[in-house]
Amino acid sequence: MQIVINALVLGIMYILAALGFAFIFNMLGTINLGHGALYMVGAYLCYYLCAAAGINNWIAMIISAAVLAVVGLLLERVMFRLFLDNFDRIVMISVGIITICQTIANLLTGSKALVIPSYANGLTTIFGMSISNERLVTFGVGLLLLLATLYVVNYTALGRQMEAVAQDRLGAALQGINTNRVSAAVCAIGVGLAAVAGCFMGAYLGLSSSMGDTMNLRILMLVMLAGAGSMNGIIITGTVMGFLDAICQMAFAGNAGSAVPIIIIVILLLIKPKGFFGHDA
């Protein structure tokens, strides 16, 4: 039961962080390696809003998500839109973003221990097991955001436009969809969600300049496993990854606990190279 809870909380965080990456991947057909760094920046911003400005941590999270959403808009305008057909350039710029963000975080942090104030204290006993309220809140809010995102993707005009752009950008444009506006909205939502995930993880585990690297690897695997163009598939693969991580950590010692899930995912990708829920686009 404890494993199930761990898996669900981890899975939700992976999904939230990965949705933004997947949005950009599906809409623009490119990989934003800087996504993990933006997740980290969101967490740091939230911390400094709480610590330096004395703002309530929930409000700080909302501000952080909003600021990062604007950053997403800017990135779409100055990076993705300009270099849409130049994969190499986007990868290089993404690596630059990571280096810049990490160096700034190191300069700011130094050796200090930075932790975002907890969103909930205390323990709750469910079926005779202790679960921290922080984990419950993380799971609850993560689930709400996920459902909201799913609603937008599946039941709104923007969602339908996103699906159209993901399937065929030129075709969508010919149908009168403003593809640039859709891309900008996607980047804003995606980076904002990454910031929210960063804020929760920053409260749960503390901050470090490299926190985005670990998440980046998970995100990349999760999106590949879901397959290109699939939004809903990410939810399933995110949950699977949460379970894989939680189980392998119990079953294998040390770095093997991290390596085994990757090996399993590589094998799964060998069986289904296009992922489990993707389409040919």
Partner: protein, 440 residues
């Protein structure tokens, strides 16, 4: 417009890369230029409160010179959080010595010049950094943890450079070996810190009778288990066969906390970083367990408590020093003085996280130079391996490590303080007495 944006982005990248690769000030540093400007005093005594090595008190200095001392740590990348204090404290030690008139060896008083390079938390970059130190002409290098630097020890060995790791995480990493006659370590390292932890458990948590070792892959190996048991045996503490080993990139400690609780041990012990151990403690408490936490790290307990949170911060201790004014009477004076320099140069936050490993390693080298009466690495190495006792920044220090590492007198054992969590005390923790350590 397109070209302008591309140019701006390229400039930003170049700036970031330059700031990563340079040898200039890293995280949280306000000033970090090598201390070149301090004029060496003619009658310079070594640093004020530090006694020189017993064999050779410095003679009257008639000459002055500059001595380059290298520092190779990671000030960028994932290990920067661990190494930034090393950077700050090393440079604080250089400043401290220069401000006190320089360092006298034989008839010469040296002004120290720090040459710092960044390993970028990356093995190839570390090797490049080592080569750049060779090019800069240093003969003495303080370096980061053993599991990093055993990958480039040959660079220094081939050039006859004496190099000492600020912290050895294991006696089995292949760093302190006969093939590296110029490799040393200038702090207790894992083996000394575990010794101190068992002694502290006995002193402050006498009900603890069993311990499960919990660490990341880099800090503990099954080869060390017998050694740990030998440290625990005098206190009738059982070290369980089960070891909880978590990956360095853990994103969730719940599974490992569950393994600790399921082991049934009275305490868990390891030398994980403050963030890892703080999160592990938090996860253990989230399972409703009161298991004692013994963190075999010289990092202040307050850092660990930040990660664990107030509610989880009880029944635990670390081997961290204290820079609180009320605790200073328990510290060696030199440590207090050095903390003050760190505070002046790098701010109160840096002082509050004082560990001193790299600073002490440099100080050990300098003491051995005096003992040897020479600044030739081979002479200094010979003085170090001759053994004996010296006064380090932590107090009386025993040179040793022959049995533990399999090389004669390449390590040291220095006292460690104990900081115990106590929700009723000021700041939630108490600073206890120092524990004597010697590495067999």
């Amino acid at each position: 417009m397109k070209k302008l944006i591309a140019l701006l982005l390229a400039m930003a990248m170049v700036f970031a890369l330059v700031s990563c690769g340079s040898s200039s000030a890293p995280a949280s540093s306000g000033a970090a230029a090598p201390a070149e400007s301090a004029a060496p005093a003619q009658d310079a005594a070594p640093a004020q409160d530090a006694a020189p090595a017993e064999d050779s008190a410095p003679a009257e200095a008639t000459k002055t010179d500059t001595l380059k001392v290298g520092l190779m740590v990671h000030t960028t990348g994932w290990f920067a959080g661990v190494d930034t204090p090393n950077y700050n404290e090393f440079n604080a030690m250089v400043k401290f010595i220069n401000d006190n008139g320089g360092w006298t060896v034989g008839d010469t008083t040296y002004t120290l010049e720090a040459v710092c390079v960044d390993g970028q938390s990356d093995y190839p970059a570390l090797r490049t950094a080592a080569m750049s130190l060779v090019d800069s002409g240093v003969k003495f290098v303080v370096e980061t943890n053993d599991f990093w630097v055993n990958s480039c020890a040959d660079v220094f060995e081939d050039e006859g450079i004496l190099h000492a790791s600020a912290y050895c995480v294991s006696n089995a990493t292949g760093y302190l070996i006969p093939e590296n006659p110029l490799a040393f370590t200038g702090s207790d390292g894992t083996v000394g810190d575990y010794q101190a932890c068992f002694a502290a458990l006995h002193e402050y948590y006498p009900d603890v009778k069993s311990v499960v070792l919990a660490n990341d892959d880099n800090g503990l190996s099954t080869e060390s288990l017998d050694l740990m048991r030998s440290y625990a045996a005098p206190y009738d503490i059982e070290v369980l066969d089960t070891m909880v080993i978590y990956p360095g990139d853990t994103t969730d400690y719940s599974s490992y906390a569950k393994q600790i609780v399921d082991s049934g041990a009275d305490a868990f012990m390891g030398n994980g970083s403050p963030d890892a151990y703080g999160n592990l403690l938090k996860a253990v408490r989230a399972l409703g367990a009161d298991t004692v936490m013994a963190c075999a790290q010289g990092k202040p307990i307050s850092m660990l408590m930040e990660y664990a949170g107030e509610k989880a911060s009880y029944n635990g201790f670390s081997l961290g020093t204290s820079s609180r004014e009320a605790d200073q009477a328990k510290n060696p004076q030199m440590l207090n003085d050095l903390v003050q320099v760190v505070a002046q140069e790098y701010g109160d936050d840096a002082a509050a996280t004082f560990d001193g490993a790299a600073a002490n390693t440099l100080y050990m080298m300098l003491l051995m130079m005096q003992k040897a009466g020479s600044v030739e690495p081979k002479d200094v190495a010979a003085a170090w391996t001759a053994g004996g006792q010296v006064e380090s920044i932590y107090g009386t220090t025993n040179i040793g490590g022959t049995e533990t590492y399999g090389v004669e007198n390449h390590a040291i054992g220095h006292p460690r303080p104990v900081s115990v969590m106590n929700p009723d005390a000021e700041g939630g923790w108490e600073f206890k007495d120092w524990i004597e350590i010697s590495i067999p």
